[in-house]
């Protein structure tokens, strides 16, 4: 078992999830709190990674973060090295790639919060921020958990983007899914089987936790 790759994968998934939730919360709240062309556009852009081949996303990121573009050159000057082929570059890629998995559950969760509750909170003197913190966020908590778990698992399982912008550098950008690819290329099926089984079990268990939690929530509401 490649513990270095396993550790790197978990670290990547954790960092991406943390960054994503920070970005996704305000974006989802904004999308859920109204209608209009601007919101439709943002939703479409956020949903792009769902339909785009990961290699397309990875290719554009590779170009954008490299020395060919102005932002890329700026990043290189600030960091002293290109973002591509580094762990931070992987985080950037994962964040974009998993964006819909964080934003969409949150939008659904926020939309399900009764607007009348927020109105009453306002008449009781709650600023929009306080109403968000004390009413919308606690009521959308199940969606927040779903978003976090989906983001985490999705990042663990990502392959195309990581390969495009991370390369395959052990200890820096080599995640479990890429290790699996290498093992298959080397005809090392026994090792590949262990890696694949681990990824499968991990995904199944986390999804099981989500659905089990949901059924518990539903039951506690009926009680």
């Amino acid at each position: 078992m490649d513990t270095q790759a396993l550790w790197l994968t978990l670290r990547l998934a954790l960092s991406s999830t943390a960054v994503l939730l920070l970005i996704a919360l305000p974006v989802a709240w904004w999308i859920a709190s109204g209608t209009g062309a601007a919101r439709a556009l943002v939703q479409a852009v956020v949903a792009l990674p769902l339909v785009l081949p990961p290699t397309v996303l990875g290719f554009y990121l590779l170009v954008a973060l490299g020395p060919l573009t102005a932002p890329g050159r700026l990043i290189i000057r600030l960091l002293g090295h290109p973002l591509a082929f580094s762990f931070s570059g992987l985080v950037v890629g994962s964040v974009l790639y998993s964006l819909p998995f964080a934003v969409q559950p949150l939008v659904a969760g926020f939309r399900a919060v009764d607007a009348a509750l927020l109105e009453v909170a306002a008449t009781l003197g709650a600023s929009p921020l306080r109403a968000f913190r004390t009413i919308a966020l606690p009521l959308a908590k199940p969606s927040l958990v779903t978003a976090a778990v989906l983001t985490f698992t999705h990042t663990v399982g990502e392959f195309g983007v990581v390969l495009m912008i991370g390369g395959n550098i052990p200890g820096a950008t080599q995640t479990l899914s890429i290790v699996l690819y290498d093992q298959v290329q080397d005809f090392n099926y026994a090792a590949a089987n262990r890696t694949a089984a681990l990824l499968l079990a991990f995904s199944l268990v986390t999804l099981l936790l989500i659905y089990w939690r949901r059924s518990v929530d539903a039951r506690s509401l009926l009680a």
């Binding site: 008449t123 009781l124 003197g125």
Partner: protein
């Protein structure tokens, strides 16, 4: 019967001034708003401690409350609040469409108890009631009662349910939490009740209504409540603004404005002192 109007937290010289000059909060409302097929066009002043908006369903009562609370932007209108002198507040425009003024709901200090009890489902009864009184940060103590004293839970007969979540409450209890939450909010300029006693049994209403009326008047917080219950209007002895099809058709003391309604109702009840033959209900 009603004591001088004494706002909270006054200095002693201000107290004296307030006692000498029991000025109420005045609210002037001028609104024009189209909602569906209903064209609302009203112009009235609230000058009494308790005013009732009376009228049939669909006459625009709830829309008017929402506009005053700041939950709705009127097509055209002006809402101005004038507070009692000791509070040192200039007349304040909450809405003035001509001047482009629109104070957001959370800055108006106008509390609305909606018709459907709209309780925060994840908060216990006490936390719900607390929500508009965040200044008193000690969450373990009880919210200050309707006249600035402990006792809101007792006043609304909710002490037994203070730790319950809203989905465990009966309809009547939820209605009382809904009201208590608006009443317990601190620093209120005006309370708006949308059919506050609907679904409450008569005996409880008879106990709560005078209590609320007295304590709120003492606290100097005026009330505008919506009802189509004639008995409730008479019980309050309030000023009545009668609405029909989005217009004010009458404003004045309840005995005058609703005299006809009262006669009709008494006729239906078969009261011997009423002229039920005139109303056409031979009982």
């Amino acid at each position: 019967m009603r004591g001088p109007c004494l706002p909270e937290n006054l200095q002693s010289e201000q107290l004296a001034a307030a006692a000498a000059q029991p000025v109420e909060t005045h609210v002037s409302v001028q609104l024009r708003h189209r909602i569906g097929t209903l064209e609302i066009d009203v112009d009235f002043k609230l000058t009494r401690p308790w005013t009732i908006l009376f009228g049939p369903s669909g006459s625009g009562k709830t829309t008017i409350l929402r506009a005053i609370a700041g939950l709705l932007r009127p097509d055209q209108g002006r809402i101005v609040v004038t507070m009692p002198i000791p509070m040192h507040e200039q007349p304040l425009a909450l809405v003035d469409t001509d001047a482009g003024v629109f104070v957001p709901a959370h800055q108006r200090r106008i509390r609305l108890a909606p018709q459907q009890p709209c309780l925060f489902p994840h908060m216990k009864v006490l936390e719900n009631i607390w929500y508009g009184a965040p200044i008193a940060l000690n969450r373990h103590s009880e919210p200050r009662g309707i006249d600035g004293m402990p006792g809101v839970l007792e006043d609304f007969d909710l002490a037994h349910a203070s730790g319950s979540l809203p989905h465990r409450l009966s309809g009547g209890e939820a209605q009382r939490v809904n009201l208590a939450r608006a009443v317990a909010a601190t620093g209120s300029r005006l309370l708006l009740f949308d059919e506050p006693f609907t679904g409450m049994d008569a005996r409880r209403r008879d106990r709560l209504l005078p209590l609320l009326q007295e304590k709120l008047a003492k606290r100097c917080t005026p009330v505008l409540s919506v009802t189509h219950d004639v008995a409730e209007a008479f019980q309050l002895g309030a000023e009545v603004i009668e609405l029909a099809d989005g217009r004010v058709i009458d404003q004045g003391p309840v005995e005058v404005v609703l005299a006809e309604e009262r006669r009709r109702l008494l006729g239906q009840l078969g009261n011997p002192t009423s002229q039920n033959r005139d109303v056409g209900h031979p009982i």
